[in-house]
Amino acid sequence: MSASDRTGLRADVRPESCPTDLPVLLPFALAEGHPPARLRPVHGWLLCGVAVVTFPAWAQGAAVAPSPLDVVIKWAPLLLTGFAFNVAISLMAMAIGTFAGIGLGLAMLAEGVVLRRIAWSITQVFRNVPWLVLLFFVMFLVPFQVTVFGLRVPLPDWVKATFGFSLPVMANVAEIVRGAVRSVPNTQWEAAESLAFTRRQTLWRIILPQCAKRMLPPWMNVYALIAMATVQASIVGVTEMLTLTAQVHAAEGGRPELFAPLYGFAMLCFFLYCYPIDRLTAVLERRFETR
């Protein structure tokens, strides 16, 4: 076995200009036959299964306490209710953020310089600050209820958190819209112009339909990120999965051996939710690329 075989370097990529057998002097190249690691949903199940099964071994000392698996099963319905809140917050934040983001993105493409600058500034601000800081801002600046035409509308924490998360979604969607519109060749605008289409007609009838497909993968990517970020709402006390997990842990006496199974369950839920979105995004990305 030659030196280059052992190091995974391929002899055939060795340039003529380096007459050496020393592996360190060879250009780096990955040996073939090592596909990049790829997770499948079954791996997630396996990981969490291992966690749930092995941790009872730690719990031998507390003979009277129920096993961690029993605890997880007992509390699963409550925890899943919390997870439903995460899903609801993320979906609503996505809906609001997408709606506002399309408007903001189009404003960035407007003909008026002032509107364009304002929209650009808003986008930059909300894209370049931590989501948690935005969440704090909304939580503490928005009142717990608003009065509209004498009608008191209460704003529960999770609604405020939804607004908080929709701000970064808005900014990111705006950037996606702007980038997608910019990616359409200028000649399409020229062709539409020479046919006497107005700017608005060109945008809605010719440009946007062409880039809708291109916007889908990055948009889904934003969704996966926001779905995972919703656990940050636990920091400001919103009742969602992570908050409930902490409460369940406390209710079970804060036993250290329950820590991994309970939080492992939360991990599992998010993984099983977000991983398929991630795969679908990748599939769509590939499909739209080739067309």
């Binding site: 000649t187 062709a191 020479s194 046919l195 006497a196 007609q201 009838r205």
Partner: protein, 259 residues
């Protein structure tokens, strides 16, 4: 020329016995680079003119000024009496009279051939969809694309796409057609089918302004040829005299290279 009152038909003062397009001392600069240095000529209704010249001599810029895709720096362009250089120009009104076909076809890739042709009359002119569809099908048949109505641009050859682009432009019933090097991106074997289409248009009396590198075509189809170099018209004349007895040294050098 009568100045058009602002809120009536801007070409109200124009009559067909006047030039349909008139360029007077047109200048155009991109930054400090002057592309057009005072170009003047007239195009009469039904006339076919070809603009030839070396690359970078401002041919495309010149033709794009006519439908206000490119704003001019100085000078005057009148299209049916509409002053194109007027800052209050109604660009849409102008572009309803002037059709344009591009080198890269620029069809809308998400629409079928038929939809490409139908879009502008329906959405820009607000015409009846059924009437437009009948006209669009007739136009596609005219450019020999009957049967390709439902094909997407990506499924058509370059020559076929370019003929759809011509049909799309004709669907607006323009008075003047601009052709910007429409065969330059085509395979040699498909060039002919596009040129045949343009020739038919010319024979039907459509006013055409072409920027082209096809000298033989220019000789056959044009009523008048303009040779541009470095932003000015060096020489012009009817094809018979232009090709046979070019006077200017630059013209002769160019013709000896391309013929």
């Amino acid at each position: 020329m009568m100045p058009a009152p602002p809120d009536s038909d801007p070409s109200a003062g124009w009559t067909p016995n006047q030039p349909i397009v008139r360029l007077v001392d047109v200048h155009k600069s991109f930054g400090t680079f002057e592309v057009l240095k005072g170009v003047s000529f007239d195009v009469r209704q039904g006339e076919v003119i070809c603009i030839i010249g070396p690359s970078g001599s401002g041919k495309s810029t010149l033709i794009r000024c006519v439908n206000a895709l490119v704003p001019v720096t100085a000078g005057s362009i009148l299209v049916e009496g509409i002053e194109v250089t007027d800052p209050r120009l109604d660009k849409l009104a102008l572009r309803r009279k002037v059709g344009m076909v591009f080198q890269q076809y620029n069809l809308f890739p998400h629409k079928t051939a038929l939809q490409n042709v139908m879009m502008a009359p329906i959405h820009v002119l607000g015409q009846d969809r059924r009437e437009v569809e009948a006209r669009a099908r007739a136009l596609l048949a005219k450019v020999r694309l009957a049967g390709k109505e439902d094909a997407y641009p990506g499924e058509l050859s370059g020559g076929q796409q370019q003929r759809v682009a011509i049909a799309r432009s004709l669907a607006m019933r323009p008075d003047v057609m601009l052709f910007d090097e429409v065969t330059a991106a085509l395979d040699p074997e498909t060039v002919k089918e596009v040129l045949v289409t343009i020739r038919e248009l010319a024979e039907e009396g459509m006013t055409c302004m072409l920027v082209t590198h096809e000298m033989n075509f220019a000789r056959d189809v044009a009523d008048h040829i303009y040779f541009t170099d470095r932003g000015v018209i060096v020489e012009h004349g009817p094809p018979a005299t232009f090709f046979a007895s070019a006077q200017d040294e630059r013209t002769r050098r160019f013709l000896s290279q391309v013929l």
